[in-house]
């Protein structure tokens, strides 16, 4: 029980910091921070799939698209309140993930990466084609739709009055923290061990009686559900989706983010999410050229593999240990 004490305390501290942060953040920064939360949710999902069961997905943007479009369509065409669309998006995306996970069982490593890459590249084209459903190139506009909480009037929560961006911030981060805990609980127990067994050696896992099919498809489903929630929140935050909202770059950046945050460990997901959200801005400091973010992403991706294979999650334990010794005294 004592071993839990430190992580729980840290998590608590983090939660408090998150709750208080908007007091210090401008409106725009609150919005940026909301996106960090959204990416964090997607990264948790992708980490479960790639980091824990070793199945590479270069197509998670597509699952975000499923979630985002579910939300958009339900809100605009069926008058569903935005908050209710989130769990529905989770289920729809999760089902899509599970259904893909079934044939994906027959694809190993490289070929799975290839298939998911092809899905990511084709997603915008498919979305554009089925116009009647998706709104095609012009997409679906959520701005001003009355089902959007905080879209027209400020939101009242627990006696506080929040404008749209602050509301968004709390929505995304509440979900992020809750989903983090859910994932953490899932990965601590038997499921997590089974996942890791699948990743490390399929033959060994099988001979220990771990059902590969069950856990691999389950991981796909969970991971897709997380991405779906992230996509749903993304649609709400951007108040707009169209065929180009979820391009292949998104899928690639998610993979970058999960590598930066550290595969196989949830600790660094926030670092990865911050990385995805803010790198384009930092890159602009380096050079105004539009190509700069790509170059920096590429260099960092390769650099992380070579220099820091465990990502941010690898750095954190070391840092935490140092902080802990400071507190314990000499």
């Amino acid at each position: 029980m004592r071993r839990l004490a430190v992580p729980v305390m840290l998590f608590g501290a983090l939660a408090v910091a998150i709750v208080l942060a908007p007091l210090f953040l401008s409106d725009f920064q609150a919005q940026q921070a909301a996106y960090v939360g959204i990416y964090a949710i997607a990264l948790i999902g992708l980490n479960v799939l790639t980091g824990y069961t070793g199945q590479i997905s270069l197509g998670h943007g597509a699952f975000m698209a499923v979630g985002g479009y579910t939300t958009a369509i339900l809100m605009t065409d069926h008058g569903v309140k935005d908050l209710w669309t989130i769990p529905i998006a989770a289920v729809v995306a999760g089902a899509a993930g599970f259904l893909f996970g079934l044939p994906a069982l027959r694809l190993t490593g490289l070929y799975l990466a290839l298939a998911t890459f092809a899905i990511a590249v084709s997603t915008p084209a498919v979305l554009k084609k089925f116009e009647g459903f998706t709104g095609g190139g012009s997409g679906k506009n959520l701005f001003g739709v009355k089902e959007l909480t905080g879209g027209i009037a400020p939101v009242h929560v627990l006696g506080w009055k929040l404008n749209f961006n602050n509301w968004l911030y709390y929505l995304c981060w509440t979900m992020a923290l809750v989903l983090y805990v859910v994932a953490w609980l899932l990965l601590r127990g038997r499921t997590g061990r089974a996942f890791r067994a699948v990743r490390d050696s399929e033959t060994a896992a099988l001979s220990s009686g771990v059902s590969l099919a069950k856990y691999k498809t389950f991981a796909f489903g969970v991971s897709a559900a997380y991405a779906g929630i992230a996509g749903s929140l993304f649609a709400i935050a951007t108040t707009y989706v169209n065929a180009d909202t979820f391009p292949v770059q998104l899928s690639i950046f998610l993979l970058v983010g999960v590598v930066v945050s550290g595969l196989g460990s949830l600790t660094g997901v926030i670092a990865g999410a911050v990385f995805i959200e803010f790198l384009p801005l930092w890159a602009q400091d380096v050079s105004k050229s539009p190509g700069a973010p790509g170059v920096i992403y590429g260099v960092i991706l390769i650099g992380v593999i070579f220099l820091l294979p465990t990502g941010a999650a690898g750095l954190l334990p070391g840092l935490l240990r140092r902080v802990a010794t400071l507190f314990r005294g000499r």
Binding site: T50, G54, I56, L58, P103, R106, L107, T108, G109, L110, Y111, A113, L114, A115, F117, A118, I119, V121, S122, A125, V126, K128, K129, E202, T203, L206, L212, V248, I252, L255, V256, V259, L263, S287, S289, P290, G291, A292, P293, G294, V295, I296, Y297, G298, V299, I300, L301, I302, I305, F306, P309
Partner: protein, 294 residues
Amino acid sequence: MANFFQQVVSGLASGGIYGALALALVLIHRATGVINFAQGEMATFSTYILWTLTQNHGWPYWPALAFTLAVSFAGGFGVHQVVVRPVERGSVLRVVIVTIGLLLLLNGAMTWIWSGEVRSVHSPFPTRTIDVGGVAISIQDLGTIGVSIGVVILLGLFFRFTKVGLALRAAATNPAEARLVGVRVPLMLGVGWGLATMLGAIAGALTAPTVFLDPNMMQAVLIYAFAAAVLGGIDSPVGAVVGGLLLGVALNLLGTYIDFVGADLRLPAALAVILAVLLFRPAGLFGQRVVRRV
């Protein structure tokens, strides 16, 4: 009927390009077991070099192409030695991420260096059509088919009849035994990458005149090349080329005669090919079945 022949010919032409890039992918996969997600960007980069030599420095086409091929070879060799070699024997995920990183890096670099503006590239072939049995066939298409086939034949001869080609084949299939006879395997694999990059440059040079040059030019072609390689059998050079030609013709005919597919769903159609082959006949048309007992 005339339209049918035209579509077949132009399908063969685009198929030749897919086949060339697919051949590059197969070469690299056979030699180093890597699926190079950056193959398209490397090809585009080579094409930019060709473009800048002819446009900005006024080189005539063929010397510029020769120089581009040489630079591409060196570039591919260098990329393998520096970036790929340290990770090629490790986990699949590391290798995938490194090639993705390369993709991002090259794409960004091209935008940085040459900006994202769309450029036009001259074709080495005249743009008129000739009359073949009453059907107007574009010379550009015929030239593309000719170059693709010629390159494939040259490569085949290289592998069969030269010492380096033999050493490369040995290094790709039996690296440990190859080292015992004195083949410097890591070097040979680098040569393989160099050759593949040259193939990519040719594919890019053939693509650019028709679609115009921009950093994302080869992204779709890469997917078609993946589909062709998978269709032909990921380790079969012959399969890559045949797969490319088949795919090119099939996509063209599908697009012309089935309205639903049209021009919009070509990419998803290629995706469907990839998924179908991987799920139902992973070895492709010419590949060898690898039995994985679990």
